[in-house]
Symmetry: none
């Protein structure tokens, strides 16, 4: 029973891995089951349909997987510091570091999120994004409460920070030699000034 579950999970993980790489390299549009199966060393696309409840399910797992990895990576670094300001810095730095270390995963993740939330009517796939903004907003509010931060709209600031972080991805595509650490340091400086008391 456990063996079966284990095997099943191993297969799922293998497929998810292949899906991430396929989407990362070919893009969402060209990441058909056929391409993913080829990369996973599977002889049939039916295997994917067998393990996942449709393409949406696979994509959801891809998102979940990358997000979980990213969160674990960041959580460790954010929990190591204390106070809203320090946490904000750790958030920015750890997130950018993760992007730099996992470019393929990030490409896949963003591509998945984009396609999931294609139409204006779609909701649910943007959950993560808004969740992330919410977290940042809470952090910013807390900082204003403790007096570490000055006056500003925490929602707009949260969006600005979140988007500035995501901006590194496109930048890396066009300028692969971009120094992500320097980018992080500069962004932290910008946010420091923007959140400071007048």
């Amino acid at each position: 029973m456990q063996a079966k579950t284990f095997t099943e999970n191993a297969r799922r993980a293998q497929i998810v891995r292949a899906a991430i790489e396929t989407i990362g390299e070919l893009g969402y549009a060209k990441a058909s089951f056929g391409q993913i199966a080829k990369r996973a060393g599977l002889s049939s696309t039916g295997m994917i349909s067998y393990h996942f409840d449709g393409k949406a399910d696979l994509i959801a797992e891809v998102v979940r997987d990358v997000l979980a990895t990213s969160l674990a990576y960041m959580r460790e670094r954010i929990d190591a510091v204390h106070g809203p300001a320090a946490e904000l810095r750790a958030y920015i730095e750890s997130n950018l570091a993760f992007v730099a270390e996992h470019p393929v995963e990030l490409t896949a993740l963003l591509d998945c999120l984009r396609h999931g939330g294609g139409g204006a009517t779609t909701a649910g796939n943007d959950d993560w994004y808004h969740g992330a903004v919410d977290v940042l907003e809470s952090c910013l509010r807390e900082g204003q409460r403790t007096g570490e931060f000055g006056r500003f709209d925490p929602r707009v600031m949260a969006i600005t920070v979140r988007q500035a972080i995501d901006g590194i991805h496109t930048e890396l595509i066009r300028r692969p030699d971009t120094d992500v650490d320097a980018y992080a340091a500069e962004l932290v400086a910008i946010v420091d000034r923007a959140t400071a008391h007048d």
Copy 2:
């Protein structure tokens, strides 16, 4: 001759219009020629192939169209002021105003730009984005030269501003009641602080 060109352009414009609306409502992925033709009141998808040299051509025209409209809108407001700081504010405000007034166009535009380049090897379709960042970077550098702005990395700041503007789009999807004017005012304030002398 003129009549022909006019008629032809009128049809093309009509199709582009339908494409924008279709992409805006269904998302790029579901925006097939069939859907677009239906919305344009055409009896067959062959009509689109007749007027456009393939799907890429139609999408390119959609991008061109929205971008041109947007640029004209912004140009007018940016040219009305003088000096890097004022121009930066005008840029942010006019861009956000346009987004607020043309939500469907923006949804379509962003979706098109996203799907333009499949995988990580994107190039060419991000031209606009990086062009926009370049313009902002130049403005920021000029402000630093004239002494209006303080010290900061103009590239990172440009990306931050550009991304913060684009952030309104996702925000509007989740919170349609967001006050875009207030968002613009707050973003201007944030940028003012971030670009100020220490």
Copy 3:
């Protein structure tokens, strides 16, 4: 009235000309009305539909045109000689000469005949071919009657001659430098021997 008819015929001839060139260069399969119209300098494929009663009609005219030109060319040279043997030689030589002088027309003609008589059920387009074989057969029978030729099956001989002539076309495609005059001379020699008395 006559002017109209003249103009109409001129247009028809122009279109037939363009069709021959298009089929000769691109092949029957790619010779769409669009391609033909382009070559004819017409702004609309509708022009072709206007002057011809469908594609079959145009193709029929192409066949008629090339055939008529070919027949006129050969007739002149065949009528210049007398007697079955001499006429047979003149037939072979003049036919091959025509092929050498009008390669594009021949390519178009053969391509048209092939497509017309695609399925085994089709008949009518092979009319010309069998007509030509019939003519040869009559000539051969006449020669046997006059005693110029020996004993052989005139039908099989007619087919052999007709096919040997057509064979130059494929040969010219692969070996464009083939000396058609020499080919004709050699074919005449072969037929001479084959039709001779034992």
Copy 4:
């Protein structure tokens, strides 16, 4: 593995079979995937695309299949005799016998070969035809070397023989009652005279 290959080949063979019959009956032009699928008892044209890498691939297999069958048939009969003259006779007789026994296959084959190369720039698809002519030419040269044959251009003679054989096909369409054995005997007689010493 073997089972797979077998099954796969069986399906492929079934489709090739259906393609041959379809082309033979409707002609190349009307032999769409839809028609072929219908004849093969397939529910969709996708099945053909699944087994063959495009239409060109299927057609190539059709040609290969008929050619291989034909060659095997002829080879057996040609290898049973010795000497250029006997082999030439066996070639003519076995080839015509095969045509008489497999009219549909031959119709399909010729149609495929004709349509393979669009315009005058044909190359590659005529490989078989020229290969066959080359074989005949070699046989004729050998006969001249051994003294069995007289003086003539072996290339022109090869083309004549090859074309005379192919001529039976069109003849059978118009005159289905043609006695192919008699045709063969008469053609052999003609070639005997044409290749004889003066």
